[in-house]
């Protein structure tokens, strides 16, 4: 409606041969329009990256005059290098990602494939599978904390129903990390599933139909049609999932606080505890820098892969 009335408006004024004057304001206006959002982005998103690297090169010393910073170069990084706690959290972070990401991505892809076709049953299932999307990770974590309770939790209730002995879960240094994998998988699947559903919708149905005529079964169609055409989506989801799971914090904060025996002490939790439990902001900034560098490397490689796909 609006578009049409505006087109009519153009017919009326379009006949007038009037050239707008280009003035100085024409040159300033683009910047003026950008100023509020871009200065905000610069100050609250870009500048922190600089503050982070810069701050990690200094050390604080406290005297009667208050806090002074001394430039110490890479010494914070060297300290980190000789710190077994740091290496433990690096190991925990990689272990978590190595198991969590493939589980999450495969499950999201399988669910999306199962409910791909647009039938009533699938539409209802889709809505149900999207439910966790409405639930914040902090809340899911507190629900799961209760579910995994050793004495009264639902999971142990189910195990006992199946005549399997109760498990300690979050209080066991062998099981806690698997509980985090389970909780994080549950929280993330719906979000990843959306991307797969969108990706699958873009594959034309005729491809499957002509494959069927040629005698191909579902299993072959999946390997020959779906997977190759979904490659871009899979790569994209992998980047997204890696960068968010690498920074996984909330389930660990809510369920285990890095324990027991530092078995769930990820880099992000180390980062938080250095700053806010031990008040060692220099160490926290140094860990953030390490996290940023690893993330940039990962994103760089993923981009190279995505770029190749485009050609």
């Amino acid at each position: 409606m609006k578009l049409n009335s505006l087109r009519g408006y153009k017919d009326i004024v379009g006949t007038i041969n009037h050239v707008p004057t280009i003035s100085i304001s024409r040159k300033i206006i683009p910047y003026l329009f950008l100023l509020p959002a871009l200065s905000g982005l610069f100050f609250f998103r870009f500048f922190p990256i600089i503050v982070n690297f810069y701050g990690s090169l200094y050390r604080s010393s406290y005297s009667s005059q208050g806090e002074t910073s001394i430039f110490t170069g890479l010494s914070n990084y060297i300290d980190l290098f000789y710190d077994p706690t740091f290496w433990n959290s690096l190991k925990v972070t990689f272990k978590l990602n190595l198991f969590l990401n493939p589980i999450q991505i495969t499950m999201a892809l399988i669910i999306a494939l199962l409910i791909r076709k647009n039938t009533l049953f699938n539409r209802i299932s889709r809505t149900l599978f999207l439910l966790p999307l409405g639930i914040a990770i902090a809340i899911s974590s507190s629900i799961w904390r209760i579910l995994l309770d050793q004495n009264y939790g639902l999971i142990n209730g189910i195990l006992e129903f199946l005549s399997i002995p109760r498990q300690p879960f979050l209080t066991s240094s062998n099981q806690a990390i698997w509980c985090i994998v389970l909780v994080a998988a549950w929280c993330g699947i719906s979000y990843l599933m959306i991307f797969f559903l969108v990706g699958l919708q873009e594959i034309p149905n005729e491809l499957y139909e002509s494959a069927k005529i040629d005698g191909s079964n579902n299993w072959n169609s999946f390997w020959k049609i779906t997977l190759p055409l979904l490659k871009r989506t899979i790569l994209f989801v992998t980047v997204l999932d890696t960068s968010s799971n690498f920074l996984l914090f909330v389930p660990i904060f809510m369920l285990t606080k890095g324990g027991p025996n530092m078995s769930t002490d990820t880099l992000m939790y180390q980062n938080y505890s250095s700053a806010f439990i031990y008040s060692d902001f220099r160490r926290a900034l140094t860990i953030s820098s390490v996290i940023l560098i690893i993330l940039l490397i990962v994103v760089f490689f993923e981009f190279k892969m995505l770029g190749k796909e485009d050609q």
Binding site: L3, P36, L128, F129, I139, N156, S243, L295
Partner: protein, 278 residues
């Protein structure tokens, strides 16, 4: 009659995944309407009572009504709406500039937008904390709102939409003597309603679900956003009052679910344009 085996397997698998996804939610919903003792007693051993609240009790909700949970919800809604309003306004005008004008430095500025969009927020939370501390904003509502307003994803969403609006609309208005701000305000912004809905939902949910940043930036009890409120009540004072935790979770989860389903189309579009197509 021919029984389709692959269809049976498909439905069985859907059922299996649905149990994994929904069982925690059904249990949480049922337990929110139980007394605290019943939650524990009903879970082990497992019975039909595990998933159905009998007797049906509203104790937990009454407890919540008496606490400052309502205040926390109001604060979060206020912070969320203000972020949506200012976020749509400031990011869309920047997007308008990127979509319409050519100017020196455009590529560099656009690169900054992309970088800030690619670096996850959690990765810069601690340096941001230091900056906000230097500004003297810790423990103020500014710390919750201002850093959330500039948003790379929102800029990208609006830019994409603005690029699709035919140029003759803008040319006609300019010939008629309209200023650029009027072109943005009266033509582009009203046409970009779908982009505004996706962006608004994303901005609102980002505040509604925010946990890490409010946890760092605010300590005072009056500034506890919902997620932080629940976290504090699960870890400290209400450590064993499960029904209260679950009741507050149910209330907090309902609002996004109510918003998502009618607006699902926009929400999915917003998420999928964020990277897949952009």
């Amino acid at each position: 009659m021919k029984i389709n085996i692959s269809e049976i397997i498909r439905i069985a698998l859907i059922f299996l995944f649905a149990i994994f996804i929904l069982l925690p939610l059904i249990w949480a919903l049922a337990s929110a309407f139980k007394s605290n003792n019943r939650i524990m007693a009903d879970t082990i051993p497992l019975s039909w009572k595990t998933f159905i609240p009998a007797p049906f009790r509203l104790d937990a909700f009454k407890d919540l009504a008496e606490s400052n949970f309502g205040k926390s919800i109001l604060l979060t809604v206020f912070v969320g709406l203000l972020t949506v309003f200012l976020g749509i306004l400031l990011n869309s005008i920047a997007a308008f500039s990127f979509a319409i004008f050519n100017f020196p430095g455009k590529n560099i500025l656009f690169a900054i937008v992309i970088i800030t969009f690619l670096v996850p927020f959690e990765a810069i939370a601690i340096p941001l904390y230091i900056i906000v501390r230097e500004l003297g904003w810790l423990n103020t509502i500014y710390a919750l709102i201002v850093p959330a307003i500039p948003n790379g994803l929102t800029i990208l969403l609006f830019r994409q939409f603005f690029l699709g609006i035919p140029n003759d609309l803008k040319d006609a208005a300019i010939i008629d003597g309209a200023g650029w701000f009027r072109v943005y305000w009266q033509i582009y912004l009203p046409l970009a309603k779908p982009a505004a809905i996706s962006a608004g939902l994303l901005l609102f949910f980002s505040q509604w679900k925010a946990f890490f940043w409010p946890l760092l930036a605010t300590q005072s009890e009056n500034l506890r956003m919902v997620q932080v409120w629940i976290a504090y009540s699960t870890t400290t004072e209400y450590s064993l009052i499960w029904n209260k935790i679950l009741a507050s979770s149910v209330i907090t989860a309902i609002i996004p679910i109510i918003l998502i389903f009618p607006l699902q189309k926009y929400f999915i579009r917003g998420i999928s344009t964020s990277g897949l197509k952009g």
